[in-house]
């Protein structure tokens, strides 16, 4: 059964909090879709986040995607990862 996008979003939040060492609860139902609203996101933070995502989901991101806009949008990121996981099956 394909993994539901909400589960993926929760895992992304967990990676986000862990990778950036944030004192946030990743299970908080009100975790914002705009990740930049709860953390500074410079290029180093994006790399730390991407490293965590690649490890968590066992996939690689195209270097051309390494922009803050894409990796700070929880909904877009969840959808993209769900699609990649589906394609991988």
């Amino acid at each position: 059964m394909p993994e539901e996008t909400p589960d993926i979003a929760r895992r992304i939040c967990l990676v986000f909090v862990r990778s950036l060492d944030l004192n946030l609860d990743p299970d908080d139902q009100s975790f914002p879709a705009d990740l930049t609203s709860v953390a500074g996101m410079d290029s180093l933070a994006v790399l730390e986040f991407v490293a965590g995502l690649e490890d968590e989901f066992k996939l690689q991101f195209d270097p051309d995607m390494f922009g803050i806009e894409f990796f700070s949008d929880l909904n877009a990121l969840s959808g993209y990862i769900a699609e990649r996981i589906q394609q991988g099956r």
Partner: protein, 518 residues
């Protein structure tokens, strides 16, 4: 040509002072020596484009004429460089050196209030930037007119400069710089709430570079990867000045992206890489090819203390020994780990090191205290009273704020920091600057900002914020407010809201050089 042709009698090992020859010179003098001996050798590789030393000399000459014609900088005026690593920034630096102009490479992630602080304090002749970044200066047109903002990747300009490589020496009418003239300014974060402007002279840079080249054994045959931003002293010193004033080849990359890093390392058979703690940390976190560092002969980290665990992990995974390069924006390199790795580190020749007690008195060998240094690579003060000069420049020595001791062999053991600063894997942040920004938010009664140790030996900015009675603050509001005043990397990652600041909150940073000896 061999290293000894450029760097006569310089030992290949840090700490061996025998035979070291002091050769005062300007950057242009040193660069011209390299060009004369290596005119056809590749100096820069930027993507698919290569520039020989002869071409780089012509391009920088053309740039210097263009800067003179467009900006007419007066003595003491500064040209701001607002761009990432690329041949344009290299050429601007060499052009400034050639024309007695001061170049100030700015962190391209700074925000308007951060830039305004410098504009309020410096006589600015103009800005050199790129098309993709130039919009940042639209808000300053009342200070710097459009005519004085040069877009270096403008095709019209490039037709005349980057593509027109036969410009020749072109130094007619240019004032001849002296070794004591300032040539580059850097910003350095302290602990007072205001940045410090650090002026480097030709002599500071040439001496620091010659010492480091000797200590690391750099020769014209080496190939560097320049990925640490040149607006950081680490990137400028180790990835721009060191290769190009030594006749080596510099491969340019503007961002660290793991796959591109691996591709550049293998394609160009990079054999010298001087990175930062952040880059080595990321190399461990991404699943990059274990053989990607196999061509390295010299691997070092600078900009801040790298955790002993990460040095060990890099060695296990990639078979490479990382040597810690210890120094500061004010001093250039002070000490380098020996080839077999450290600690302790070995002081470079030509620097005098003292260990000072709490009252500034020199301590006997073996005792622990503040590391103070003097020598030709050390700056003599800050610009415009930025920073507390009397605290750090004493009796001809620069007091580093780092704690250490000298062992009987003269090696330097680094033990931690004395003054509270935050070092984010090579990028320094002034906690008082962040506190001042947060305090301007309505509802905040007081605030303390400091670093705590993260799970990967990294420093993480923490803010403890006391909220006024009746006020409502939340994380999103605080971050949104910080974003108007501070760069993204300065925004705290751990935010605690409290009713009052605990009296025992010292803010002392837990990460220290001493961690290396774990």
């Amino acid at each position: 040509m061999h290293c000894q042709d450029i760097l006569p009698n310089v030992s290949s090992r840090a700490g061996d002072r025998s035979g070291y020859m002091y050769t005062p010179d300007t950057i242009t003098g040193q660069f011209n020596k390299v060009v004369a001996d290596n005119p056809e050798k590749t100096a820069l590789i930027d993507g698919e484009t290569r520039y020989t030393y002869g071409e780089l000399a012509s391009i920088s000459s053309a740039y210097s004429l263009h800067l003179r014609d467009r900006l007419s900088p007066l003595p003491g005026q500064v040209v701001l460089a607002w761009m990432d690593n690329g041949p344009e920034l290299v050429a601007c630096f060499l052009a400034a050196a050639r024309s007695s102009t001061i170049l100030f490479p700015l962190n391209i992630h700074w925000r308007e209030p951060e830039l305004r602080w410098f504009l309020d304090r410096l006589p600015v002749a103009g800005v050199v930037t790129k098309k993709s970044l130039s919009a940042a200066w639209d808000q300053f047109t009342n200070r710097i007119s459009h005519d004085h903002i040069i877009t270096v990747d403008d095709p019209n300009l490039n037709d005349g400069i980057l593509q027109g490589r036969a410009a020749g020496p072109g130094s007619e009418g240019m004032p001849t710089p002296s070794p004591e003239d300032h040539v580059v300014f850097f910003s350095s974060s302290g602990s007072t709430g205001a940045p410090k402007i650090v002026p480097r002279s030709h002599r500071n840079i040439v001496e620091g570079t010659v010492c480091k080249a000797g200590a690391l054994g750099i020769s014209p045959g080496h190939r560097f990867l320049g990925i640490v931003p040149f607006y950081h002293a680490n990137g400028f010193d180790n990835s721009l000045a060191l290769p190009l004033l030594s006749g080596a080849t510099l491969v340019l990359q503007s961002d660290f992206v793991p796959s591109r890093f691996v591709e550049a390392m293998t394609r160009h058979r990079i054999d010298v890489f001087i990175g930062s703690p952040a880059i080595f940390e990321l190399l461990l976190r991404f699943e990059v090819d274990r053989s990607c560092l196999s061509t390295l002969k010299i691997c070092a980290s600078s900009g801040g203390p790298i955790a002993a665990d990460n040095i060990a992990a890099i060695r296990r995974r990639f078979g490479v020994i990382i040597r810690q390069v210890y120094g500061s924006t004010e001093t250039g390199v002070i000490a380098i780990d020996p080839p077999e790795g450290g600690p302790p580190s070995v002081p470079v020749p030509n620097l005098e090191i003292k260990i000072l007690g709490a009252s500034g008195e020199p301590l006997p060998q073996g005792e622990k205290g503040e590391i103070a240094v003097r020598g030709p690579s050390v700056v003599s003060g800050y610009i415009g009273g930025s920073g507390d000069e009397s605290m750090v420049f004493r009796n001809g020595y620069y007091c580093t704020g780092d704690r250490g001791c000298l062992d009987p062999s003269g090696s330097l053991e680094l033990l931690g920091r004395i003054r509270p600063t935050i070092n984010l894997s090579g990028t320094k942040v002034d906690p008082v600057e962040v506190e001042n920004a947060i305090r301007t938010l309505p509802g905040v009664s007081s605030c303390r900002v400091f670093s705590v140790k993260g799970p990967r030996h990294n420093e993480v900015i923490k803010a403890v914020i006391a909220v006024r009675e009746g006020a409502t603050l939340d994380r999103a509001g605080i971050i949104s407010h910080c974003r108007t005043l501070l760069s993204e990397y300065k925004i705290p990652r751990i935010i605690e809201l409290v009713l009052s600041i605990p009296p025992d909150l010292t803010g002392k940073s837990p990460v220290s050089w001493g961690d290396r000896s774990d």
